[in-house]
């Protein structure tokens, strides 16, 4: 049996420092009591740090509260904020920018990621090593890396502009990625695709590897062309995995904040102002706490719905 000294001693130390009385009563616990003592601390922590604030947010969303004026008289506004939100052009703009960002990143990442996984599944020499290399960007801090991309995107001296100009045969100072209204949305898409294509690739690869060989063997016996095999076996059988990756990326990019906040901060103008950036401006720059709470609740509900679909997709994949 594998003994891990670190895990063992840590728990032993925790056990030794548990007061005798508690230890005694723990030892005699029924399974049911153990289950609850093991689960309750986590639930309590989540209630304190997630649910209690959530309920507070719901309450605030009905009021005129402003966090920078905590002593101002509080007015109860009912659903006022929610109806204001629906007619606020800034909010609609933020949602549109977010939708475009989510759709374009997820589509590109799904195509590239699946393509890469399909190639890696050919099991060429050294595929393990190169897979690990490809995975590195997705583990890095989007904020810190996003900040450095502003340097790569510098007009003229930036490496990105230089390379594009070099291969495109254009003047590197003739375009700027972050400053240009037409290019700025692509500047954030490019960084997101660079970071997260590996994520989609890794899950697609698992999907491809989950397809048993005998299915292909049977298809081969039936003389199905490799084109036909791809559309009738590979794609449908990998689909639950592709969906899993796509859904998770959609959720993550729907709430995208860190990379974009440092790369463009919503600019130029508001061309890259995603919902999270709008929310940050409302909540922490304009300090319209009540109003932004209502907006936060709308985002919560959307994410909650998406998370529900995601967990269903997770369970479908798990059964495989």
């Amino acid at each position: 049996m594998l003994e891990s000294p670190s895990a063992g001693t840590l728990i032993d130390r925790a056990a030794r420092s548990t007061p005798q009385m508690i230890a005694q009563s723990l030892r005699g616990l029924s399974d049911r009591a153990i289950a609850w003592t093991f689960i309750t601390p986590t639930i309590l922590l989540l209630l304190a740090i997630n649910i209690f604030p959530l309920v507070w947010t719901i309450r605030l969303s009905f009021t005129s509260y402003r966090a920078n004026r905590p002593n101002a008289p509080l007015r109860w506004l009912g659903l006022q904020h929610y109806s204001d939100l629906l007619s606020d052009p800034d909010i609609w703009h933020g949602m549109q920018v977010t939708a475009r960002f989510v759709v374009s990143t997820v589509a590109i990442e799904a195509l590239l990621g699946f393509g890469l996984a399909f190639l890696i599944d050919r099991k060429f020499r050294g595929h393990g090593f190169w897979t690990t290399i490809i995975l590195i960007p997705m583990m890095l801090s989007p904020a810190v890396v996003g900040n450095f991309w502003t340097f790569l995107y510098q007009p003229q001296i930036g490496l990105f502009n230089y390379v594009i100009a070099f291969f495109g045969g254009i003047d590197p100072s003739s375009f700027q990625m972050i400053g240009d209204v037409r290019l700025a949305p692509w500047s954030i898409v490019i960084v997101d695709v660079w970071m997260w294509t590996p994520y989609v690739m890794l899950i697609c690869l698992a999907g491809l590897r989950s397809i048993p060989d005998y299915i292909y063997e049977a298809a081969e016996v039936d003389r199905a062309s490799s084109w036909r095999q791809f559309w009738s076996i590979t794609l449908p059988m990998a689909m639950p995995f592709i969906m899993l990756a796509v859904l998770f990326r959609a959720i993550e990019n729907f709430k995208m904040f860190d990379m974009v906040n440092l790369l463009t901060n919503g600019g130029p103008g508001s061309t890259t102002e995603l919902a999270s950036i709008t929310l940050k401006r409302e909540a922490f720059e304009k300090w319209t706490t009540g109003y932004s709470s209502a907006f936060a609740i709308i985002l919560f509900v959307t994410i909650f719905g998406l998370a529900n679909i995601y967990v269903k997709a997770l369970n479908r994949v798990k059964q495989r």
Partner: protein, 317 residues
């Protein structure tokens, strides 16, 4: 026999297609590494080299970026510098050659230490709570189990900015704003959901018979958990811990909104590494390099478990 060759033709693609696939994947890998290589290269450039056109691939390496990262400097006249005693260290000499004098250490080291303290603190708590909860869910009949598990996971999906509004108000009331304890509790709450889901997957794989045998030998349920389950789950616990650590290390949204000084971590600090007239790119690159190196190391270490980590334990291979 025919069956064998057929299977071979499918399972192992032809040499040619394999070579093309390999070339394309390697090309992608190399291109995707360029930004990271550029960060490391920039960190060894002088400020002038870093903004030269065309971008320099070959240059005389300099540690100026790292010196600037760790120090704050003041500009002085050459005549004033001449009156000072001769420089005693190489970095003094380097800074003075730019007509500057080192004024003191920068805030990078304290911010890095904050990242370490908050990262390890929250990881420890999240893994401790997560292991217990995962064991509870894995081995016992818990009413509303699926709903509780969904609730736990859904807390991780929430947009950080939306969560930050009430947390900001709550922390202000409790005096937890800009404290390490506040950030540790917050990251623990975010990480515990991942820890529970991942560890439940790992513990589900340990046969119940092991504990049952131990309990027949006279162990109590808790002893069996400690002496049988925990050692078996050690790899899983370590992988989970690394995932939690990476999340806390990389986190930016909460950190930028809830900390400003005392408990500020590295990610919100790096964009504010500035020199005279804008960002000091070699210093930013140096700070970024030192910040990213541990993550790259952990990624290589974790490669077998990455898939599990990013799918909350659902996909195993």
């Amino acid at each position: 026999m025919t069956h064998g060759t057929l299977a071979h033709s499918v399972v192992a693609p032809g040499a040619m297609s394999r070579r093309i696939a390999g070339a394309l994947v390697i090309l992608y890998a190399l291109i995707s590494m360029v930004p990271l290589v550029w960060i490391v290269l920039t960190s060894f450039k002088t400020p002038t080299d870093s903004i030269s056109y065309p971008p320099k691939i070959l240059f005389a390496p300099s540690l100026e970026g790292y010196v600037n990262l760790f120090t704050t400097r003041t500009r002085q006249t050459a005549s004033f510098i001449a009156t000072l005693p001769p420089p005693t260290t190489w970095y003094d000499r380097l800074v003075r050659s730019r007509n500057m004098v080192i004024a003191g250490p920068s805030k990078y080291v304290p911010r890095y230490l904050n990242s370490l303290v908050i990262g390890f603190g929250s990881t420890f708590l999240a893994v401790l709570l997560g292991t217990m909860t995962a064991y509870g869910f894995s081995r016992f009949k818990v009413p509303l189990k699926d709903d509780l598990l969904f609730f736990i996971l859904s807390t991780r999906m929430m947009p950080p900015i939306a969560v930050a509004i009430p947390i900001y108000l709550m922390y202000r009331e409790l005096g937890l704003t800009d404290t390490k304890l506040g950030m540790i509790l917050l990251y623990t709450a975010v990480n515990v959901s991942l820890a529970v889901w991942l560890l439940k997957g790992f513990i589900d794989e340990i046969p119940r018979e092991y504990e049952e045998a131990a309990m027949i030998d006279g162990y109590t349920r808790l002893q069996a958990f400690r002496k049988v389950v925990l050692p078996q789950a050690a790899t899983g616990i370590a992988a989970t811990a690394i995932f939690c650590l990476i999340f806390a290390w990389n986190e930016y949204a909460f950190a930028v909104l809830l900390t400003s000084g005392e408990a500020q971590t590295t990610p919100p600090f790096i964009p504010f590494i500035i020199g005279e007239g804008g960002q000091d790119w070699p210093a930013v690159a140096a700070g970024t390099t030192l910040f990213l190196v541990p993550i790259v190391a952990f990624t290589v270490l974790l490669r077998k478990h990455l898939l599990r980590g990013i799918t909350f334990g659902a996909v195993r291979r």
